[in-house]
Amino acid sequence: MRRLAQLLVLPILAGCTAAPPPTGINDPYEGFNRQVHALNKSMDRAVLRPLGRAAATAPEGSLQPVVNFSNNAGLPGAVVNNLLQGDLGGAGTNTLRFVVNTTVGVLGLLDPAGAIGLKEAETDFGETLAVWGVPEGAYLELPAFGPSTERDAAGRVVDFVLDPLDRLGDVPGPVQDYAFPAKVGEQVVERGQLGDVMDDVLYNSADSYAQARLIYLQNRRYELGQTPSATDEDYYFNPYEESQ
C-alpha cells in the first residue's frame, strides 16, 4: 500500500529539491515566489480582507455553521489521510465525527461531536507525505493559496483528486454540493478572525514575504510534529553566546 501510494505520488515530487535542515529556509524560487506574493497581497487587499472585515462584524458565532459545514465536508478526505499514515485512532475519530455531525449536526452545520469531545484529527496529504519520509522540498508561494512547500503543494493536488466525498453514496446531496462554497466561506471567516495579526504580517512588516515564509515554515513543521528534542542545539540556539 505504502509503496503503491509512493509510486503514484513520485512523479509529482520528481521536481522536489533536497531536504533542507529542519530549522533552515530553502527558497531557490525566491524571485518567482515574491511575484506571487505581491499578487496574493493585491488580491487580499481587493477581495479577501474587505470580505473578512465584513464577516468579522457579523454577530459572534453566527458564521460558525459555515465553518462547521466546511470542516465536516472535509472529514472523509482527512480519514483517507489518517489511514494512509496508519493513524487508526484519528481515522476512527474523524469517521465518527462525520457520521454524528452529518446526521445529528444537521448536514454538518452544527458540531455536536466536538461537544462530546470528538475533536477533529486534522491532517492532509502533505502530512501523509511527511510521514512517509518525503522531504519538505523548496518553499513555494502559491497563487491564492499562499505559503506552501513543494511537498505541501503536491499534497494539495492529491487531496483535491483523492477527496472521496463525492464518491460516498450515502452522503446527503447538499453536503457534497455546498462543500466548495463553504470552503470559500470558511477562508473569509478565518481571514476576518485573523484580522489584525494577518494585517500586521502583510502590511505592517518591512518584508512581508520573508515574514510569511518564516511563519509558515515554522508553524507547519510544528504542526507536523517535528518538535525538536530537548538537546537540539540548533533549535535551541543561544543568543547569549553569540553576543560574546
Partner: protein, 200 residues
C-alpha cells in the same frame, strides 16, 4: 585487602557521586523553579490585566510594561541586529536597545490583545541547551487551545525570558528577519533605523 580497597573505592566513588548529584540537582532544580516562577508571574500579570476589564488601549499599555519587566530586551535587541551588532558602537547599541525595546513592547503588547477573553496556563518546564523552556497553553473561547513557549535564561544574573514561541513560530527569528529588512530599506544606516524605531 582487595575487598577492602574495592569497598573503600566504591564508597569514595559513591560519596563523590552523591556529592556531585547533590551539587548538580539543586542547581538544576532551582533553575527550573525560578524560570517557571518567572512565567507564572508573567502569566498571572497578563491574566490580571485581561480580567480587569479596562479599555483596550489601557490594556495594551500594561501589556507593554509586562513585556519590559519580564523580557531580556538587550539580548533580544542585540540578536535582532545580527552581524550588524558587532559593527555598532557601544553608544549606538545602547540607543538601539532602547528604541527596539519600545518598538517590540508595543508590538507584542498589542498582540497580547488577542488574549483578551482567554487565559494562559503554565504547563511544564524543562532544561534545554540555552536555558529553560517553559511551556504554556493559551485557552480562548471558541478556539482550539494553542501552545506558547517561553525560553528563560539566567545568563544576566536573574531569570528573564528571551524568546516566545507560539505554535512553533519564534519571536527572535521573526524580529531578526524584520530588523534586517528594515536595515536593508535604509541602506544599512543604523542611526536612521534607531530614529525611525523611536517614532514607531
Amino acid at each position: 585487602m582487595t575487598v577492602l580497597t574495592t569497598r573503600r573505592a566504591f564508597l569514595a566513588h559513591g560519596a563523590a557521586l552523591a556529592l556531585a548529584a547533590s551539587a548538580a540537582a539543586p542547581a538544576l532544580a532551582q533553575d527550573l523553579t525560578a524560570s517557571r516562577a518567572l512565567v507564572d508571574r508573567l502569566v498571572a500579570d497578563v491574566n490580571a490585566v485581561i480580567a480587569s476589564g479596562q479599555p483596550e488601549d489601557a490594556m495594551i499599555g500594561q501589556f507593554a510594561q509586562i513585556f519590559q519587566a519580564y523580557a531580556d530586551a538587550p539580548t533580544i535587541a542585540r540578536y535582532s541586529l545580527g552581524a550588524d551588532a558587532r559593527a555598532a558602537t557601544p553608544d549606538q547599541l545602547a540607543r538601539y536597545t532602547q528604541a527596539f525595546s519600545n518598538y517590540v513592547a508595543q508590538k507584542y503588547g498589542s498582540r497580547f490583545r488577542e488574549f483578551i477573553g482567554g487565559a494562559v496556563q503554565v504547563e511544564d518546564a524543562r532544561a534545554v541547551p540555552n536555558g529553560v523552556e517553559v511551556q504554556t497553553t493559551a485557552i480562548f473561547v471558541n478556539e482550539a487551545p494553542f501552545r506558547v513557549d517561553f525560553w528563560v535564561s539566567e545568563a544576566t544574573g536573574q531569570p528573564k525570558f528571551f524568546n516566545i514561541i507560539i505554535e512553533g513560530v519564534n519571536m527572535l527569528l521573526s524580529e531578526r528577519t524584520e530588523v534586517q529588512a528594515m536595515l536593508d530599506q535604509r541602506g544599512g544606516d543604523l542611526d536612521r533605523l534607531i530614529s525611525d524605531l523611536s517614532r514607531m
